[in-house]
Amino acid sequence: MAYYSNELTGVSMLSGVGLGGISYTGSTGVVNLFGSGYSGGYGQVYGIYWNTSANPAFGLAADGTGITSSPGITGTIYYPRPSPFGSGISLKFLVTAFSGSVGGVSIALTGDQLIGINSGTAPGSGYILPSGYFIHQESFVLLPNYANPTSQIYQSLGTPYSYTPAAGGFYPSMLNDNIVNINLEITWSGASGDALNC
């Protein structure tokens, strides 16, 4: 997946902090977002890229005079089905470490901070939180029941049982003092319809 340069040059906020522009130098892999067009200012600007087309990920680009290397956040992300938490997982956005000059006003934010805290020092049109949702696909990775199984596999491997502290739900066991009866009811019926008295 490649970016298209005209989508990035429209990011006016970046030029507003003194960066001289954005150049687009690659179609695959890490994209140099701030190459030779860098002209001044200092700041930390983040880019977004695909590392490979088959394994997309969002990444953090480096600051400084050029962004040419992978930020090191790669790979895929797994998360449990969100059903216990409602219809979906919501997103929160933080302003991250940033210092720069916008319209002659210096801005210095350090660390991850909630946007609202620092909104007074930021220029422009104010802050509007982005919104969105995750795109996902069904994984083949199974979700464990938060504990090691009572497994004969471990026996066969000669591995001693090591039941780690459990954190999740649990399943029922059979009973020593009670019979468990299962009554299977098979019901059938025939609607009489219009054939009853025809």
């Binding site: 069904e138 990775v141 004969q152 049982y161 739900g169 399943y171 066991s173 009811e185």
Partner: protein, 522 residues
């Protein structure tokens, strides 16, 4: 302590008449017309396979209405009000291929209890639909390759399982319909019985389904409570009824006819509890997910099996059911198909096999220790108790409970009871995530599942035991005035999801940004 599970069938019967001339050319036909399954017919199901309830066809000229108050006040029976006792026929006179055969002369055939001698080969059989099977039989009237010497007026049709005696000679179904079959012709009268299964789609049960009021809780109050609050889901996975072959013979396939209320070979009727909770989580047929879309089709249970073998492979009384016709068997039981011990396979990945190495590089918490199977979880493993391992637990054989007085309206019910006895208990450390009702083939000892059910753990949620993979973010609003952001999930999860991105432009909003849109939406 009692559990009550339920499956139900809706019966729909229909007749059809096709009339042919001496050349075998179709000259008149009817639509399928509905029948009335009689009160006695509904009760026959206690003693006969569904497929055996219409072995005999009877014709009559009576015009009285069907009996049957709605609902009937008693176990009413019904039948032909005026049977046809004689059908003048010229026997063996028809040859579809050309010249007539040897004419044996005239004969008066009975119109009552017309059986297998009149079955039309190819007009009998079974068709399996997505919601249950349809059974067929067809009778040639007159039979023995004859044709009618006179017009035959029929006002009532009836099918029955037997020809006489105290049980089975009455109507399974009857319908009034005026049909005149002209002289010089013969006809094919067909009967179709549809068994519409009510539980082929996923069904859920909630806490309280297990009646624990009479349980002894002196020493195991917590364990009993676990059953009382248990919830889950189930599905009937195969119709489990006897078949009809192409020449009209009822037979039992290797999968048994366990789901017939009349089934009495209950040594082969078993429930079993299994620790497995993941065999069908990403594939309705079990095992690996064959594609992204296949994962979405999975609901954790074995799918409802529909199989329509090629016509020539229908059982013909001389050969066994071909091996190509088979059901999934031994689900949630064995470590492998060749294993004899009853330990279900445990997977950490359903990608292709147990040994597949999934990409856990970004998973800090979950690793190969995290097999998906039913465990004591937060209730803890009790090292002071015996350890039986990850084994299934098979019930005692079932028995049909007495059904006297079970006649209510247009419905009938049979209750079949199985038990798990304390002596069979696998202790507190073996936990169960699923329950299967199966036919155990007495020769091969394979279990053929008829009902598959899965338990939810104490969280009560219907959690598919597999992860979803985040492949991107779709921004419906890019925000404004923000240079850089991080994104993370709420609530926080253990997976390392805390990623940086930028947002822009500085003014206004950019909705559905194409650069992100390009990776696809939900």
């Amino acid at each position: 302590m009692d559990i009550k599970a339920n499956v139900n069938y809706a019966l729909e019967g229909k007749f059809k008449v096709d009339i042919f001339n001496k050349k075998g050319e179709l000259i008149e036909t009817t639509d399928w017309f509905n029948n009335f399954i009689t009160p006695s017919g509904l009760s026959y199901i206690y003693n006969y396979n569904f497929a055996d309830c219409f072995r005999y066809l009877s014709l009559g000229i009576g015009t009285t209405s069907n009996y049957g108050n709605n609902p009937p006040s008693a176990n009413e029976t019904t039948g032909l009000s005026s049977p046809i006792t004689s059908i003048p026929t010229n026997l063996n006179a028809i040859s579809i291929s050309g010249s007539p055969g040897v004419i044996f002369g005239t004969s008066n055939l009975s119109g009552q209890y017309i059986g297998s001698w009149a079955y039309q080969e190819g007009g009998c059989g079974i068709v399996e639909d997505n919601d249950g099977p349809r059974f067929y039989r067809s009778w040639n009237i007159p039979f023995y390759n004859g044709y009618l010497l006179n017009d035959l007026t029929i006002n009532e049709f009836m099918v029955s399982p037997s020809t006489g005696g105290s049980n089975g000679a009455l109507a399974f179904s009857r319908v009034k319909k005026n049909i005149i079959i002209p002289q010089g012709t013969f006809s094919t009268i067909s009967y179709q019985l549809k068994i519409k299964l009510g539980s082929v789609n996923i069904q859920t049960f909630s806490g309280g389904t297990f009646q624990t009021g009479n349980a002894d809780i002196t020493n195991e109050v917590n364990e009993v409570a676990q059953w009382n609050t248990l919830s889950g889901c189930y599905r009937q996975t195969y119709h489990g009824l006897a078949w009809i072959d192409s020449i009209g013979t009822t037979f039992v396939p290797r999968y048994g006819n366990l789901m017939e209320p009349s089934f009495t070979g209950l040594a082969a009727s078993r429930f079993y509890l299994s620790p497995d909770n993941s065999q069908f989580n990403v594939n309705v047929s079990g095992g690996a997910n064959s594609s992204e879309s296949s994962s979405y089709l999975a609901d954790g249970l074995l799918k409802f099996i529909v199989q329509n073998p090629p016509y020539q492979q229908i059982y013909d009384n001389s050969t066994s059911v071909p091996n190509t016709q088979n059901l999934p068997n031994n689900i949630r039981i064995k470590l492998s198909t060749a294993a004899t011990s009853e330990f279900p396979a445990m997977y950490n990945s359903q990608y292709s096999s147990v040994s597949t190495n999934p990409d856990y590089s970004s998973l800090a918490v979950y690793d190969f220790q995290g097999y998906s199977t039913a465990t004591p979880g937060s209730s803890g493993y009790d090292s002071s108790k015996a350890q039986f391992g990850n084994k299934i637990l098979v019930s005692t054989q079932g028995f049909n409970m007495p059904h006297t007085g079970a006649v209510t309206g247009r419905s009938r019910v049979l209750t079949r009871r199985h038990s798990f006895l304390p002596a069979q208990s696998l202790g507190k450390n073996t936990r169960f995530g699923s329950l299967v009702y199966a036919y155990k083939n007495p020769i091969s000892n394979d279990y053929y599942p008829m009902v598959d059910s899965m338990f939810f753990d104490t969280s009560g949620q219907y959690m598919m035991a597999h992860y979803r993979q985040i492949t991107g973010i779709y921004f419906t609003n890019r925000g404004s005035g923000i240079v850089a952001c991080s994104t993370y999930t709420v609530p926080q999860i253990d997976m390392p999801f805390n990623h940086k991105t930028f947002q822009g432009p500085g003014t206004g909003s950019l909705t559905n940004h194409p650069a992100l849109n390009g990776i696809g939406g939900i």
